[in-house]
């Protein structure tokens, strides 16, 4: 499949999702309204913590709110592009619906991973960006344009790494009866991304930059913005991403070998 063909498929998927969303306008508005409530709910615990302390392990309230904002963007993008597809993975494999994806003239693995999009969930990108700006302003951080580029790059690496981890959990449906609950557990653990890595014990921090790279997606971009870590750290993130891409491909191929259609 050529890149041009891939872009055309991606455009079709996005257009279709927007058309579908337009059919359920009330639901889209509700999602947006709830997004605002979620934003407030996200800030409240941080404000309560900092009503008892001015700094926690070197972090002030503004920076922690900024991390919460980045986490909101991360959660929102995962809910837009990854969650709807992972929720269907068990049905694809157990019900044999994967056949219908594999026989299409598109690359099977990315199509199965990104076929469904929930545009209304992307509202969190706006609220998360607002929170990040409010937090950085409150903390009086001086931001350089170069810093923003590096931070966005780091965020994308972390986001893609998390998306690949979640995708691999979905592929376990090739071997297990149902993986829906694994996805729900993964979503629940995303909560940890709202707080700086420094808030957690060392063992948890190691997990948060490797097996469940939440720290790469949320803490590291803010640290790059304020200049407390070197951009060299991105090399580690890129290495992790490459490893995860290889693992994801291998797991998919192994799953394909095991998959026997249940519908035909």
């Amino acid at each position: 499949m050529s890149v041009r063909h891939g872009v055309a498929v991606a455009r079709a998927v996005l257009t279709l999702s927007l058309v579908r969303e337009a059919q359920f306008r009330a639901q889209a508005w509700t999602t947006i309204a709830v997004g605002v409530v979620e934003m407030i709910a996200q800030v409240v615990p941080v404000l309560v913590i900092f009503s008892h302390s001015t700094r926690v392990n070197g972090w002030d309230v503004g920076l922690v709110i900024a991390i919460g904002g980045v986490a909101e963007i991360m959660t929102s993008l995962l809910a837009t592009f990854i969650a709807p597809n992972q929720a269907k993975m068990t049905d694809y494999i157990r019900g044999g619906q994967l056949d219908l994806l594999l026989i299409r003239p598109v690359a099977g693995q990315p199509f199965a991973a990104l076929r469904w999009v929930q545009p209304a969930e992307a509202w969190g990108v706006l609220t998360g960006t607002a929170l990040t700006i409010i937090g950085l302003t409150a903390s009086e951080v001086v931001i350089r344009p170069g810093g923003i580029v590096v931070a966005v790059f780091a965020f994308l690496i972390g986001l893609l790494a998390l998306a690949l981890v979640w995708t691999n959990l979905g592929y376990l449906a090739f071997w297990l009866t149902s993986v829906g609950a694994l996805g729900e557990l993964f979503s629940a653990l995303l909560t940890a991304g709202k707080y700086p890595l420094a808030f957690f014990p060392r063992a948890v921090r190691v997990i948060m930059v490797s097996l469940m790279p939440l720290g790469l997606a949320t803490t590291v971009p803010v640290q790059l913005l304020i200049g407390t870590v070197r951009p060299l750290l991105l090399l580690y993130g890129l290495g992790l991403l490459v490893v995860l891409v290889i693992i994801t491909r291998l797991v998919w191929l192994a799953g394909m070998r095991r998959y026997s259609s249940a519908s035909s």
Binding site: F24, A26, Q27, T30, T31, A33, V34, V37, E38, A41, V44, P45, V48, I49, S51, H52, S53, R55, V56, N57, L176, T177, S178, G180, A181, L182, E184, L185, A188, L189, T191, A192, Y195, A198, F199, F200, P201, V204
Partner: protein, 275 residues
């Protein structure tokens, strides 16, 4: 349709509940793998909060409660959360929306008896899976928290827990019943999933709220869904034990009347479209 209070009918509903409970218990065991993972999440989320608060304490935060109370709170909250949880609203709304409520309206029992049996049956299985995880967590935390040694406190907290579970279920019936008037109640559900944990003490112990919010947080109904049973067990009831018990029973009454009213008004507007 709400259960009539007449004795023969009540006995019949109790028998039906027993049968449905046994059925739900065996069905829930079939999904033990999924339930195990849900319980892992149930333990992990409060653990994340515990780490965050421990970091705050280590940084010199001046809290209005002790670190030992906080640790005990976050260790036990997964059990309280699970036992007081309800998932009736979604299924009730579906029954109203797609007309499958019809089959309960022409039976000698109610959809609410089925929902209660499902709630209780699943919770037994979840409890079996959750308790060992909490024991492991408690063992890992060693001597960083205390549990009460007075039997009366455990019994009273258990009673408050039952009341809290009933209140949560009644709230769910109210939210689900909104489907009589709205085609899609998912927005209400998602909003309640965000607001209720925050106000009930599931995310932050209410004792840690700033002083200005203490008065309001003590009397608002959501406190009695999660926080209050734990406050009773751990012996730190905000505003006094007897006053708290009075508030909880008062809110239970309000929830029961409101749920019955919403259901009765809704069922008058209901017209099943098939099923």
């Amino acid at each position: 349709m709400i259960i009539n209070i007449g004795r023969p009918r009540l006995l019949r509903q109790v028998r039906v509940f027993g049968k449905l409970f046994a059925l739900n218990l065996s069905t829930s065991f079939t999904y033990r793998g999924e339930m195990f993972l849900w319980q892992v999440g149930n333990v992990m989320v409060p653990l994340i909060s515990l780490f965050v608060w421990q970091a705050a304490i280590a940084s010199g935060a001046q809290l209005p409660t002790t670190p030992r109370y906080l640790t005990a709170y976050f260790v036990l909250i997964s059990i309280v959360n699970m036992l007081t949880n309800s998932w009736t609203a979604f299924y009730l709304a579906e029954q109203i929306r797609d007309g499958s409520l019809n089959r309960y309206l022409c039976r000698a029992t109610s959809t609410h008896v089925d929902a209660l049996a499902n709630n209780a049956g699943e919770k037994v299985v979840k409890l079996i899976l959750l308790v060992p995880m909490v024991v492991v967590l408690a063992a890992a935390l060693g001597d960083r928290f205390d549990l009460p040694d007075q039997l009366w406190r455990w019994l009273l907290a258990f009673g408050c827990l039952i009341v809290a579970a009933v209140m949560t279920w009644l709230l769910d019936v109210m939210i689900g019943s909104l489907a009589f008037w709205f085609a899609d109640v998912n927005g209400f559900l998602r909003a309640s999933e965000v607001i209720v944990p925050l106000l009930s003490g599931a995310v932050i112990p209410l004792a840690l709220l700033p002083d200005a919010l203490h008065g309001l947080s003590q009397v608002q109904p959501f406190r009695f869904l999660v926080s209050f049973p734990l406050e009773v067990l751990l012996g730190e009831v905000q505003g006094g034990l007897l006053v708290g018990l009075g508030w909880q029973l008062g809110w239970l009454l309000v929830f029961a009347v409101a749920a019955r009213l919403v259901w009765r008004l809704g069922i008058r507007t209901y017209s099943g479209a098939g099923a």
